[in-house]
Structures are given as C-alpha cells and as structure tokens.
Symmetry: D3
C-alpha cells in the first residue's frame, strides 16, 4: 500500500546501509521498521531524519518514556496510524503501563475536546498567560 | 473577539456559580480564566467539562507535569493558541523548566515531521507493532 | 494582516464587479465581507467559489440553518477563526439560538474527544457499520 | 489492528459491565460496538465518556439527526474513519436520507475549501461578525 | 469500505453519465477512478466538482506538475490516504521523478515540523512579512 | 504573544550566535526573523533546524520557487499563520507572481474540498494507484 517500495537490505545504497547499521547498533536489534525502509530511497533524508531522531529522542532533559508519550500524543492528534502503532510500542518498551496508556488517551481526548470548544468560542488569551 | 460574551461573576446562573466556586476551591485561587467564562453560558456543559478536567487531570497514574505536557503537545498539533498559552503556563506551574519546554517542542516538531513523511509514503504498519 | 490587499469596489475588474453585484442581489444587502474582497484578485476563483457557495448553501434537501451549523462545525475542526466568526453570524441570522449554539459546540467537542480516542486505540470498524 | 484488545463481555470489570448494561438499555439493542470494547480497559474513562455522550447526544435543543450530522462533519474534518462509518450509520438510523447525506458532504467540502482559502489569504475578521 | 456504493457505469443517472463521458474525453482514457463513482450519487456535486477540478487543474499560470505537487502536499497534510495515492500517481504521470518525489516529501516534513514549532512558541509575524 | 521571549542578538549563547551568523551569510541579509529568535533558547534545536532547512530548501531536484510553494501549501493546510506570512513572502522573493499565488490557493482549496469528500465517503484506493 506504500507509494514507494520498501527497500530490503540488499537494495540499499552504501550511504543508506551505513545509516541502517547505526540504527541497528543504537537500538541493539537487527530489526529495522518499515518507515526507514521507505525513506531509504533518499539517503540524505534518511541520514538527516535518523540523526534528528537520535538527537531529539536520546538523553536530554526529559525522560525517554515521557518523550515517547509526547510523540504518541502528537501522532494521535495528526491521525497517523503507523506512528500511533510504532510509538505505542515504543512507549511500552520504555515502561509505559496499560493504565498509564489509558490515562494518556484520556488526556489527549480531553485536550481535543477543549481545543475545539475554545476555537468555537474564540476565547481570547488571558493576560496572565502571556509572558 | 469571542463569539459569545465572557461572563462576569455577577452574570452567572446559580449552577454556573457553583462550578466557579469549585474551580476556585480546587485550584486555591480566586482567578477563573476566560475559557470557563465563555462556556458558562451553558451550565451543563460547564459542569460536565470541569468535572471531566478535574477527574482526568487530577491524581492518577501519570505525573501532573506529564499530563500538562501531553495536553500542551495535543494543543500545539491542533493549533489552539489559547490552549497553548494556558497549558504552557500550566506546565510551568507544575514544574516544567525552560530547557524541558524546548525539548518538548523539539519532540512535537519531530513527530509532526515524521507523521507527514509516513502519510506521504503510505508506510504499512510492521507486524511487530500489532498487538 | 492579509497576505493580499482587500479590494475596494472601485478596484474590482469588471468580472469581479459582476460577481459582487450578484452577491449583493442574492443576499439583499450592500455589505460584502472581506473573504470576497481577498479572492477578488482572481476573478475566476471568485466566480467559481461564489457559484459553488450559492449552489451548495442554497435551497436543497437540508434546512439552511442546518447547513450553516455543519459549515461552522467543520470550520471549528479546522481552526479557521475567520470562518468561525462569519458562520456563527450566518447561523444566528438563520435562526440559531444561543442554547442551540452551545449545544452545537458540545457536540463538536464530544466528537473531537472520541475521534482522538478512536485514533489512539486504532479501533477497527464494526462490520455492522459497513455498507 | 487496535493497539489494545477489544474486550469481550466476559472480560469486563464489574464497573465496565454496568456501563455496558446501560448502553444496551439506553440503545435498546444487545449490540455494543468496538469503541466501547476498547475504552473498557479503563472503566472510569468508559463511564465518563458514555455519561457525556448520553448527555450531549440525548434530548436537548437540537434534533438528534442534526446532532449526528454535526458529529459526522467533525469526524470527516478530523479524518476519523471509524467515526465516519459509525456516525454515518447513526445519522441514517436517525432518518438521514441519501440525498441529505450527499448534501451534507457537499457542505463539508465547501467549508474545507473556503477554510483553507481564508487561511492562505490571512483574511481579517469583519467588524460586523464580532459580538 | 466506502459509506456509499461505488456506482458502475450502468447505474449512473443521465447527468452523471454525461460527466463521466467528459472525464473520459478530457483525460483520454476509459478508466474512471473510485472518487467519481462515489460522488456520482449526487449528479450536481459530481458536475460541480469535475467542473472545478477541470478549471483549476487545467491550463493556467502554473505548470501541471507543480499543481499536482501542491495537491499532493495538501493531501499529505490532511492525511487523506486515497488522495495521496491518486495524486502521487498524478504527479508521476505529469513527469515527477522519484528523487523529486522524495524531495517534495522532505519539504512537506520540514514544513510540518516548523509549523508546529511556530505554534508551540506563539511566534508573532514579523512586520516585514506583512503586506 | 509568544510563550517565550524573542532573543535579541546580545542575548544569544555563542552557539546560537554562530547559527545566526550563518543564517545572515547564507541569506545575505542582516535581518533574522522571529522564528529563529524564539528557538534560539535551545541552541541545539536552532542548529539542527537551520541545518535541515538549509539542506532541504537548498539546491536539489526541485526549483526553489516550487519548494516555497509546497512549504506554503502545507502551512495553509496546518493553519500556521506565521508560516503562511513568511512563506508567502519567501515564495514572492523567489519569483512567485500574484496570479500564480492565487492559482496556488485555488489548488490548495480544491485539494481540501476533495480530501474531505473522499474521507466522508471512505473511498477505497483504486488498484491502479498502488505501486
């Protein structure tokens, strides 16, 4: 159903193969998911996207589990089914429990509801919320 | 700019006034922000929305700061300027630091980018991501 | 704040002026709102859009008030502030009462919440809902 | 394809079972669709969502058919395939005819088109549309 | 999976059949894709939509390939899987190469990322960008 | 109105100042727009975003004007007012004429309309559009 083919390992350019090797080394698994096999058609895009993901989702100020939750929340709001599946798996792999997942969904739903109420009413920002 | 008037305290119905009293007691502040003053035109909507927010954002499995971050991430994805301002303030009030805020934004941006790449490529969900 | 100028009546091309005349005749008012003054830079776009609006929002199977409500609901979901203001006004002009407006908003908010819950859970369509 | 299992009746907690009983009694059918079977993992979310739906979609100021149409319009704008299928069925069950459905879609499409034209042009809200 | 049946040629009304004939003549192919078979339930919607597509996507100021690219970019941002498939095909038919497609996707992803960063930060429009 | 301050040149960290210097050298202008002044609070995010923009929007397979048009189309679909203003300016700076801008908007609007019609009808992808 993809609009491009999903590249097998033996179809990768040398540049793409190097990125796949780094994905495997970083994640400590041989498995490389379909997203990377699709964007591998453009080695520069592949290298840039993997480099950014590695930097943004790597060690920083926020807990990895929290970052996966934020990623998942945005993916739900954008209606990206693939991303919802991969980042629900990613959040679980980082320790998200089932009750936490359901609570995350409740917050996402609540935000969606009030986001639209606010838009429909054209509510002006309170002065106290301004920096 | 609102499509309805923002109700002052002396314009509230008794049902709406009771909700405002609970908002003040729960949040331990006299301040009630514009969102509640707009939906107060419909006391049932006001009571239901406040009750849901209180339940969803109250004590549960996730940290309050994390819930505010999820709420903020969804509000950004939906482009709700009011909600972005109020929940950035809410997250800060729950301890979000400036470096954490910037990292949250980086995750949101990264998710947005890959969400759209995935959509454009029609990437099929890997079997391993299915329950 | 517009990215193009809003055309005054004396700046219109003859083709655009003819569309403005039809807008005024159809709506029985001299007032022409900013949307038309912005797209008037492209007389073909103006004529096509007005022709479509006139056909779609004109007499048909659904009540004009219901059509304005649907238009408003979509505009809220898309976060179009201008459209929210113009179609809230349009719905009121077609008889929408304040309690009805608040109820419409409650339905929109409820839909937004469950839309995102469904996406987050990847709920498969029940067979009974398929044609 | 769901990210959680869909709970069968014999897997429900007592709290969730009580909500299912109320869904069946209210709708006067034994059938409970997948959405409820997915959120039943969190009985509090299930109870709250069902309570809200029952209140919002129940008797009020707007006709049930109109409410289903608004719900459907929002679901289309959010691209929620499950919700589109379930609320098209819901609207039909409330009397929506096929010509009315097609007209609803025409209004939704028209709104989407002009929402984006307005955004692209940055059209400022006319004073007359402000309250 | 459609919410309406897809009409076969022998099920079309005379008005719809006339539009199908024009689609075939204009595109110089006997093939008529599912979108038109779905909206053919409403001959007026079919005629209007085809007329608009023919005008907008026909000869004008922009290259047909560029127009297909813009159409595709919007379809990705809206998460319309059908439209992504049909307009990726359309862009390729108008000469879009695979490296160009990947570059288009990179631009779409980049725009999505910065769109959300801007929203999250509430960045005010620079005076120099105003007309 | 921003949720963070917009950093002046004398408030930048050395890493951020280096990026600003490269922005100025690359664009051959002293002007640095607000977006960069907002994300400069996170020098790593600033450096990564600027590096990506420079790569994606720089010389490649597509014309710079076409890339700005794609960027603008996505920004309109996402309702990002800041991005719409900055990339309308960017497209004009790359040679976009006023008739071309209006035609771009017409294509964006048309795509939005049919995207939603397709979603509302649940149109299945034609086999011919699959790779």
């Amino acid at each position: 159903m993809a609009t491009v083919t999903l590249l097998r390992d033996d179809e990768l350019s040398p540049e793409a193969a190097a990125v796949f090797a780094d994905i495997r080394a970083t994640r400590q698994t041989d498995f490389v998911n379909n997203f990377w096999r699709a964007i591998a058609h453009d080695p520069a895009l592949l290298a840039r996207t993997w480099g950014s993901i590695k930097q943004v989702m790597g060690p920083g100020h926020l807990d990895p589990k929290v970052k996966e939750m934020i990623y998942l929340a945005v993916s739900i709001a954008h209606g990206c089914d693939y991303c919802i599946h991969s980042h629900t798996a990613g959040a679980r792999a980082n320790g998200l429990t089932e009750p936490e997942l359901m609570e995350l969904l409740a917050v996402v739903g609540m935000a969606a509801e009030t986001n639209r109420l606010v838009a429909g009413l054209g509510v002006p920002v309170d002065d106290v919320f301004r920096r």
